[in-house]
Symmetry: C2
Subunit: 427 residues, 2 copies
Amino acid sequence: MDAKPGDRVKIVTKDVTNEGILLPSEEKDTLVLKLDSGYNVGIVKKNVKSITVVKKATERKEEKVVVPHNPKLPTVAILHTGGTIASKVDYSSGAVTAAYTAEDFIKIFPEVSRIANIDVQLIARLMSEDMRFKHYKLMADAVIEKQKKGIKGVIIGHGTDTLAYSAAALAFMLENIQIPVLFIGAQRSSDRPSTDAAVNVQAATQFIVKTDFRGVAVCMHENMNDDTCVILPACKTRKMHTTRRDAFRAVNDTPIARVTPTGEVTFLKKEFYQPEKGKTFAPKLKIEEKVGLLKMYPNLHPEIIDVFTKHGYKGLVLEGTGLGHAPTNIEETLPNYEALKTFIKKGGMVVMTSQCLYGRVHPFVYTNLRRLAEIGIIFGEDMLPETAYVKLAWLLGNYKPEEVKKLMAQNMRGEITLRTEREFDVP
Amino acid sequence: MDAKPGDRVKIVTKDVTNEGILLPSEEKDTLVLKLDSGYNVGIVKKNVKSITVVKKATERKEEKVVVPHNPKLPTVAILHTGGTIASKVDYSSGAVTAAYTAEDFIKIFPEVSRIANIDVQLIARLMSEDMRFKHYKLMADAVIEKQKKGIKGVIIGHGTDTLAYSAAALAFMLENIQIPVLFIGAQRSSDRPSTDAAVNVQAATQFIVKTDFRGVAVCMHENMNDDTCVILPACKTRKMHTTRRDAFRAVNDTPIARVTPTGEVTFLKKEFYQPEKGKTFAPKLKIEEKVGLLKMYPNLHPEIIDVFTKHGYKGLVLEGTGLGHAPTNIEETLPNYEALKTFIKKGGMVVMTSQCLYGRVHPFVYTNLRRLAEIGIIFGEDMLPETAYVKLAWLLGNYKPEEVKKLMAQNMRGEITLRTEREFDVP
């Protein structure tokens, strides 16, 4: 075939005819077509009966971009880890531009150079589901370097899927960080008219330049418009929709601030977690590998708990039902209770959260909850299961067991909200 | 001690003094006190230094209640399985009344007798986290009996924690059920001024009496007021808050109808799933025991997938990240991919859902999603992880593997919403 990426083509297979822009594909045996709906479709080459070029891509001369430096502007570091935010497809040439150098970044996001000087660094090229604890360390190390260099703040571009897990991890690891570290992502890639990438980048840069916020947070679209972003608390944020641009929501908390891409900042609450000014920066970068997260469900069998004991896990976060229940109270479910007791007896730490996500777990409301608390299960208050997982792994990497137990139920980085009178109104 | 349940007492321990109403406790070594805040606190007897009776409970004569029967009213069956909805504490006597007989039910919910005649049956006394598949069978059998008796509809009182799992299970099991089956629960028990029990019972009864709705649904508070309940689709409903009375929400769907306790019914959408009128009732009551639900998270290790293979599981629902990802694409996460491939090679069925909960999984957006689809992982569209778990266990109990694979991705009971053009707008 003589069709090239960027060409508009018609592809006929046995079942269906598709027309769209041919995209570059990293797979040898698959063609990827961007349909007019904006939707990408993969077509296995061996099923293709014919390809017709409808319109050749226009040839484009590569523009040379000079990264501007304005001595009056502060410098913001952009760390890339991969994900949708970092790349852009040019439909006329089919070229994919990754924003991994300052030149490419300015080409994709030219508006940013009017807000700050940029310092672009590639940390990793990952789909965010593949993030490991070692990547959290890479990100933390890079942030520490930037803080040493006296940079005004750091933006971390991250795939959206596990962005919130990473934000929580860095919040715990970078104790008393004295600069802002904002995680951003994109739910729609920069090659889509509906992309949220540019607005998120601009809003994050503005927030760093215009405020003296310190600590780790998330900056994403506030709603379906392109008018505003919100700064969300690192340990209380969750991706709540697979595709919406406003998928990121504060859970059991509210956003810290609203920011426009043009630089208007409104703080939305009086008090929110941020490290005290001038407090000694005390990074703690170890994370325990052997920690798990397990959702409770009806008809759970004990072997699914035992596997954590058998493989020497040090910690286990349970995503319980309701106020923090696990199926452990009747004859058929008692083996789960014994499995949890054994895990704890062998030194494992168990933390209870709720699959409701909203609201608070509570060990004293029902007898069976007290039973769980009595065998040493730590009730994680209104902490998100994902945050509890990251926190437990981090605590186990850096503290002694008694300290882990104590700190797990205490607020350290805004991950636990104090009970209010209204919230006490439980049973 | 001479304090009796119902007495107002002051209990002093080493650490703290509590005053409140002494409740009956099923545990020998613990006292349970209802504080004035409405909050129950458990106190270990051996820590008690003193108990002072502040005010004796007033003696009450047990009222004899006659269950009315009005031949002009239809009959509604009330099946009890346990949970908050079914019991009430009388603070002056300390007595706990369980609504397990028609007499007790009418004592607690007298308003219902003006709407329908009632037929009360106790199925089980469980905290809902202890529900097993065998209990789904008990509930389904009882519903079938009631349908045979020509009863107008069935209300199932259920603990709220796993109510939505049970509702989905019965929706699948009771194919073409020709009467309404409404699950109700209470987030606050009947002994609290803020209880939602009475309104939920009345609204469910009204909906059954006033409409010709067929099939399984959930009836719970619409908001924080006591004005209205919503009828929620059995397979698209989730408990989204640990304590709020309006915790139950339709996810990737909208409520079917609004009902007031006085019997005003407004249908909120034109089309919703319900069995066709007069279609043959075809219950399928088997459920495969060996099915699991596993949430994906960063740094997942393959032994947590392997355990399902080792124990001969037939099905596994993954709660993936974003559009349906699992950590399987880089050197460190590839063992998870191999573990999933092995599980499938041994005949296991894997279904992908999203931990975002809102939105749809989508196997064709990214290369790594296509990789998962290619090894045979079934993408569960916009199905809730909990519903997918129950559906997979039910399908495996009643259909051949090829049928399971086909039916899993098809809408059977309203658990999958058709894609709309807007929803196609994904990457």
